[in-house]
Symmetry: C2
Subunit: 140 residues, 2 copies
DNA sequence: CTAGGAACTAGAGTCCCCTCTAGATCAACC
DNA sequence: GGTTGATCTAGAGGGGACTCTAGTTCCTAG
């Protein structure tokens, strides 16, 4: 194999991005690459660093809850080019809002969770104390 | 219907919790109620405020990403009673960790998203400026 | 009495996001 | 030339969490 240092096999991309090989093919099928994935010897996919960079963005957007359909729309806009910044802006702002509200929802939930943890810590402490005083009693 | 103020129909519970009637039946089927749901005239489900309170907890835990299987395990522990506080504590602590790390992942993602929003804001501004100078040109 | 609306059951369907299978092909090394 | 290991395609499978359907039953009001 002619070792073009800028070209990567699907396995290498999987390794670098943490996505599975299956997922990479799936993403391609779903139109989530800005540039069509080239093919090398024997029809094998050839990626480059730009693809990895783009996937990194995709992974972050996915991790923050962007559905594939939206990610795909975004990819389309990026592929399409420069004169649709408003749309990309709108899409990103919408996503930003979703993420911030998700963070605040989680933060609120965390209050309850912390409260529950506190309650059970107390219960466990009481349980231990009771056990010391009175072996094996299950008062609580 | 004898209006017992403490007993609620499935429709009332759906209204108060925001869960759908379908979801309530589904949750019951999945064992997510601490106390078996009683049945009234004609086999209809009868709930009370405790059920609503419990569902409120469930909703918060679900909203913070607890899978139904874990929620079910937790429900089992609560149903079982007082001498398993350690297990409940462990479960809640684990969930707490998941939630805190999810929050930090989201917060990290938010950095990229904000950056992108900034980039597109600039692009849009430039676009507007360019459009003022030179009607309809698409330089970017 | 009848109509309307709410609830019942069992089970199928949906949506999302992959993941895996099967069987074929290809490249590289010994 | 043969084996090994990576890759290919098309399509099926799976898990999570509901959601909906169909057909029926029941309560309440008019």
């Amino acid at each position: 194999m002619v070792e073009d240092p800028t070209s990567l096999s699907i396995g290498q991309v999987a390794e670098r991005t943490g996505l599975s090989i299956h997922a990479l093919r799936f993403y391609e099928q779903e139109g989530l690459f800005v540039n069509a994935v080239r093919r090398g010897a024997g029809g094998r996919r050839v990626y480059d660093q730009d693809d990895v960079d783009w996937l990194t963005v995709c992974i972050i957007l996915r991790a923050s809850g962007m559905p594939l359909t939206v990610l795909r729309r975004y990819t389309d806009l990026v592929r399409e080019g420069g004169d649709n910044a408003e749309e990309r802006l709108a899409l990103m702002r919408e996503h930003q809002e979703r993420v911030t509200s998700q963070i605040s929802r989680l933060t609120e939930s965390l209050d309850l969770i912390k409260f529950k943890v506190g309650v059970y810590e107390d219960l466990v402490d009481q349980g231990d104390a009771a056990a010391e005083q009175c072996h094996g009693s299950s008062l609580t």
